[in-house]
Amino acid sequence: DDKPVVGLVMKSLANEFFKNMLEGAKAHEAKRGDYTLKAVGMQSETDIETQINAVESFITEKVDAIVIAPADSRALVPPLKRAVDAGITVVNFDVSLDEKAKQEAGLTLAFVGPDNRGGAKLAGDALAKKLGQGAKVVIIEGNPGADNAAQRKLGFMDSVEAGKLDLLDSRTAHWETEEANTLFSNMLTAHPDIQGVMAANDSMALGVVKAIDAAGKTGKIEVVGFDNIPAVQPLLKEKKMLATVDQFGQEMAANAVDKALGVLKGGKPLEGWVKTDIKLVTSDDVK
């Protein structure tokens, strides 16, 4: 039929956050009913190639719009430039493409998405407020090299600075629960006086909380996370976690699709950074 086709390029759908995002987009497709959605995800977080392959396939299939959450802020620039040159409307969401790379490629593209750094700072500030100045904290980082990991770490560092926290250590657990559990257990051995933890996502926060339980320090160490996944709801409720950050992933892709369709229907091209909502979630928000 003649409905416009929107190609949605996601990150790893094995990640609950993106899975929910896709679900939101599908619901959106059903609700609007005036376009066809084709979604592709990756095998893993760093699987840049699959994304590029997907973009190339979408160009082959001559879709009308590509809506993409890039796995790498630079590698995706050339293929997206080809897509734009092929007359496809491209919307970039979730992670912003690199300005310099865009400039070099002669690509002008707006970004629709949340402020990861600002979000992390919300969580970090909540921790700083709870613990007070000089409190000893550690950061559990996401994948080294991942843009959102880097942004969140910067946000946490902003809070450390602003709240005058004492940062004892900052290490990666590659977004993983088990690794975060192991890592934090060992950090706790090296620094028995840790008071707060900032985890770059909730999966890692789950592992941290369990390590705290196992060490018998429940209630003595405050944890903040990021993403607001369902599994942390009980922890927030039991106050084993202080806070997490919701960036409304469910709506993020749908919003981006809306923007793309707007342009397709003859609307004004997007410009700059179209910020989407973020919100700090604490036990007060859990029913």
Partner: protein
């Protein structure tokens, strides 16, 4: 000569020339990679402050447990000359199955946990049977079969959960996961029990003997009347069952089951087995070596974090130490041979 079989009885033949020398040699040989482990422990005890504390030892044992359980199963598979790349994915699949069962509404907690354990083990056995059957029936390298299964199990785990994490297990189950006895985690004790059983099976039983035989010379074992097909399937199935148990242990320790857990676990398990002295081409090795191999990996990960090195340095040093441990083992081997 294979270590497991040897260790079990020191030459009692009438000729019995060697006594003390033989015993100490046997111990050294059995200890296998033990020397490297001792060196590592000494290094970390000297260079870090907290390494030899009770709470850190508890940590290490906790952290070793899952890999150890998977490595036991992997030992069976590698002994017959196979390999299982699917353990990480299958663990994830077993965990989400067990997690689903455990969180079924309206089930008595004790019953829920029991059913969950059973279903995890059955799921693991199912994949083990699949791996074993395909590789034995069509004589396909298990590397490629289990690479396929890796994708199948992961895809299936994602499909059944729709990529969501399962949580909120019965409180008693969670508590059990962190229980310790005199500082030794109960989960580790379970793993140790499994090591003992595996050692017994491999070193003492006819079944184990034939597994070693097949790993060494499949044709000779076949012509001696043994049903190779059965034994191959059995090895993979045992591995699968242990993956099921590993999934339960994962859940008890971390309180979640998710389709994205277990990525890369296979490499850790294989590393433990090989560092432990089992030959990748089969027929030679022991599960005691595997225990030591798993401990080396665990101690290394723990000690390097305590050392406070950067993440990147840590990764590089991990690489070097894995290689060094095996080189060291080669020198020990020469020593005991002389």
């Amino acid at each position: 000569m294979n270590a497991a079989m040897d260790s079990t009885d020191i030459d009692r033949s009438p000729a019995g020339r060697a006594d003390f020398a033989a015993v100490s040699k046997t111990v050294l040989r059995e200890a296998g990679i033990g020397l490297a482990l001792v060196v590592l422990i000494i290094v970390f005890s000297v260079t870090t402050q907290h390494f030899l504390t009770a709470s850190n030892i508890t940590n290490i044992l906790t952290q070793v447990t899952i890999n150890l359980v998977l490595s036991i199963g992997m030992t069976f598979v590698i002994l017959i000359g196979g390999i299982d790349l699917s353990v990480g994915s299958v663990l994830s699949f077993c965990a989400v199955v067990a997690g689903t069962v455990m969180t079924l509404p309206g089930l008595d907690p004790a019953l829920a946990v029991t059913l969950a354990v059973i279903s995890a083990v059955i799921a693991g056995i199912g994949f083990g049977l699949f791996n074993g059957f395909i590789s034995a029936y069509w004589a396909i390298p298990s590397f490629i079969v289990t690479l396929g299964t890796l994708n199948i199990a992961r895809g299936a785990a994602l499909q059944v959960t729709n990529a969501s994490t399962i949580y909120s297990f019965p409180a008693a189950f969670n508590a059990f996961g962190s229980r310790t006895i005199y500082g030794v985690p109960v989960l580790f004790l379970i793993a140790l029990l499994l090591v003992a059983i595996a050692w017994f099976v491999l070193a003492k039983t006819v079944f184990g003997r034939v597994l070693y035989g097949i790993g060494n010379n499949e044709e000779a074992a076949r012509l001696a009347g043994h049903n190779i097909f059965f034994y191959k399937i059995a090895a993979f199935t045992i591995c699968g069952a242990l993956v099921g148990i590993g999934a339960i242990i994962y859940m008890a320790r971390l309180n979640i089951a998710s389709p994205i857990i277990g990525i890369g676990f296979e490499l850790n398990a294989i590393a433990a087995v090989i560092i432990g002295g089992t030959s990748l081409s089969g027929g030679r090795g022991s599960v005691v070596g595997t225990l030591l191999g798993a401990c080396i990996i665990g101690v290394l990960a723990n000690g390097l974090i305590l050392l406070g090195l950067s993440d990147f340095m840590r990764q590089m040093i991990t690489g070097f130490v894995i290689i060094l441990a095996v080189i060291l083992d080669k020198y020990r081997e020469r020593l005991t041979k002389a």
